[in-house]
Amino acid sequence: MSSADSQGTPSPSERRHRASGITIPGFVLKNALRNGRRAMLTVLSVAVSCALLVTLLTLQRELTVPPESEAASFRIIARNKVSLAQPLPARQRSTIEKIPGVRQVSPFTYFGGLFRDETTTSWAQFAVDPARFRELILEGKIIEGSYDAWVKNRNGCMVGADTLRRYGLKVGDKLRFTGTFYPVDLELIIETVYAGTIDDRNCFFHHALLDQLMDDWGMVGTWYMMADSAESVDGVIEGVNAAFENTSAEVRAETERAFQLGFVSMFGNVKMLFGSISAVVVFTLILVCVSTMSMAIRERFRELAVLKALGFRRRELFAFILAESFGLSMLGAFVGIGGAWLFWSTINLQKLSQGFLVYFEVTPRIMATGGIVAALLGIVAAIGPSVSVARMSVVSGLKTLD
């Protein structure tokens, strides 16, 4: 008592607690942990649900938001208006080069071959014009071999660092691809290795080689071009589209970013699917917490009635319940979100998913979303029990059994 007095005048309730050696945080903590098993089960179920939520949101982001690179906003991809699968005549190049604002253009043809004896296409191969392509991937850095050597060697190729690591390849190795879309097979030699782009998995080879194998094919898959400034991008897109209008091969040009997003939109309603699953997860999560909290409170109805009889106000009782439920759910969120973050950043998902999932980055934004959901959950779960505690009369509360 004396120490409390020397620090000023504490409120009556505060004085009561100090007298018995109990502080309010201590009281809440003791209450939360007195049924240790239940506290643990609650924390764990919140943790599992939070981890799941974070994983779903990350998966959704991975599938719907392609990674962005600065250079991509200067780059334009032009495909046949019919569809991506329809090639374009190679003679279009001279026309495109004359369009003002076009700094460089290269053919860009998806080969889609099967590597070695694999049965699915696990990484992409593109036929390009190496001399022109150099100016198109500004963000890429050559980390092994030399680009010039690749330009000179018609059978050479440039491979991404990720793929090199995945298969344990090195410069000078031979790569064999069986054609799926094209009736020809490729035999390539790694001349150089790139890294630092948004997708360091691909293989690039000479379009001239493809032309030769296909008996002077005279077609390209798409055109890949670079505008000389951000301002000229729109003009280039319009120019390219207009240049081939009403020809036998009409063209649809768009920025690389728009192209990627268009590709993503072909997945169908992925976003809706993940959104609804996440909603169900959050809903279940709330149920679990609400049910646990009300269980904990119901068990303690008599005690709460005693507290009320001692003069604690409703507000204070609500604070006790809220602190307990909020604390438990935040602890669960910490374990679950932290665990998910640790798990996804430690394991090599790219290898496990065979290149399907590349980044799977649990962003701060996603973690914050998980945390906010858990916080709301802690608050919502406290409301029901608090209302019933507030409504109960001291007498009936004291009478409660069980």
Binding site: R37, R38, L41, T42, L44, S45, V48, S49, A51, L52, T55, L56, N80, K81, V82, S83, L84, A85, Q86, G112, L114, T120, T121, T178, G179, T180, F181, Y182, P183, D185, N246, T247, S248, A249, E250, G262, S265, M266, F267, G268, N269, I277, V280, V281, F283, T284, L285, L287, V288, V290, S291, T292, S294, M295, E299, L401, D402
Partner: protein, 394 residues
């Protein structure tokens, strides 16, 4: 002696609030698993329903999908006169060289566009696929820029209705009819005359695949071998049904997702069920003491609590099944179809999701397992309560 079942279900009903929470939790898990599996099932069954038993599909060796296959006119000329091929009433060989192309079309409901398959077929091709039936309008005329599209596609893409116009670059194709293909892969296609398709898509010397019908089983075997052994041809022949039954790669992500979510969510549900059951045990301490005094064995108590847990989660399982059936019925009644990009053809596969009895059984088993695991430890605890102190407790 075992405790009567009535004891359990009465207990489940009397504590309706906690029961309700657990039931809803388990129901959510079960319905998520069932619905995701139903999506995968829809894709698989669309593959399984495609193809006639007696037909053979010939594609280029190494190609993964028909749309990526190339068969030259020379190859077709060689092949069409193989004597193993059956002949129709008019004496023509029953063989159809077809062209499968991808066109990009604007979506009807959502913004953006998606790829869809357009198939150039011949009159023989229609004979070879008797399950594909016309439901509206008429079939395309040879030599005309006309298409007959799947009724399911008509709902998904702009201009795919009868009288609509499909644009393929500078060319315009008029939709003259709708067909139904009985939930097969052809439900994701638009059909037109093969020669017109070759002209429009600049494939004068190329086809994608050849569909044919051998005279009998012996002819089928000999033809398959003959094509496989002819290295010069570079083609691959296999029964049409077999070819399509392998095209289920699109279903794989859904199955993985169902497994992943099912596991993670059921772990959460097990914790929830455990919580409920522990609370049940704690609040019934005196009751359990009484039962023990009355002569019920520890084993009887364990069994009784296990049954209660299973009852609880089984109820959740049933609600989950009912929920997914309800969603299924709604989807069927509204005629909603789902579309996903097929990574092999790069075109959209349209399918109906299917809640089948075996999926519901799976969901139910899933819920029972959750109940068993969730109630195991609480049941043991109930059985281990010391009788005297249990009786004394409030």
């Amino acid at each position: 002696m075992a405790l009567p079942l009535k004891y359990n279900y009465r207990n489940v009903l009397i504590r309706w609030r906690t029961t309700l929470f657990t039931v809803i939790g388990v129901a959510a898990v079960v319905s998520v698993v069932i619905l995701l599996k139903a999506l995968a099932k829809g894709i698989e069954s669309s593959s399984a329903r495609t193809g006639e038993p007696g037909n053979i599909l010939v594609v280029r060796k190494g190609s993964q999908a028909e749309s990526g296959s190339l068969v030259t006119r020379d190859q077709f000329r060689t092949l069409q006169f193989f004597e193993e091929i059956d002949r129709n009433a008019a004496g023509q060989p029953v063989v159809s060289a077809e062209l499968v192309m991808i066109i990009n079309a604007p979506r009807r409901a959502a913004p953006g566009s998606a790829n869809t398959l357009i198939r150039g077929v011949t009159p023989r091709g229609l004979e070879l696929r008797p399950k594909v039936t016309l439901v509206e309008g008429r079939w395309f005329q040879p030599g005309q820029r006309e298409v007959t599209v799947s009724k399911k596609l008509a709902g998904r893409f702009e201009g795919f209705e009868v009288g609509g116009i499909i644009r393929a670059g500078p060319d315009r194709l008029r939709v003259v009819g709708l067909f139904e293909a009985g939930g097969s892969a052809f439900d994701s296609e638009a059909w037109m005359d093969a020669d017109e398709a070759r002209a429009i898509f600049d494939r004068s010397e190329m086809y994608s695949s050849i569909l044919l019908r051998p005279r009998d089983d012996a002819a089928m075997r000999s033809l398959t071998n003959r094509i496989a052994q002819d290295k010069r041809l570079g083609l691959r022949a296999e029964p049409e049904t077999e070819y399509y039954s392998k095209q289920t790669a699109t279903a794989v992500p859904f199955n993985i997702l169902a497994g992943l979510l099912g596991t993670a969510m059921s772990v959460g549900a097990v914790f929830a069920a455990m919580n409920t059951m522990y609370a049940n045990v704690a609040s019934r301490t005196r009751e359990i003491g009484t039962l023990r005094v009355l002569g019920y064995s520890r084993a009887a108590i364990v069994v009784s609590f296990l049954i209660e847990g299973v009852l609880l989660s089984g109820l959740g399982g049933m609600v989950g099944c009912a929920l997914s059936l309800g969603i299924y019925a709604y989807v069927v009644a509204r005629g909603v179809t789902f579309g996903t990009m097929d990574f092999q053809s790069f075109a959209e596969t349209v399918y109906q999701f299917r809640v089948t009895p075996d999926l519901m059984a799976l969901g139910l088993v899933f819920s029972l397992v959750i109940g068993l695991i969730g109630s195991f430890l609480p049941a043991l605890r109930a059985a281990r309560l010391p009788v005297i102190s249990a009786l004394k407790s409030l």
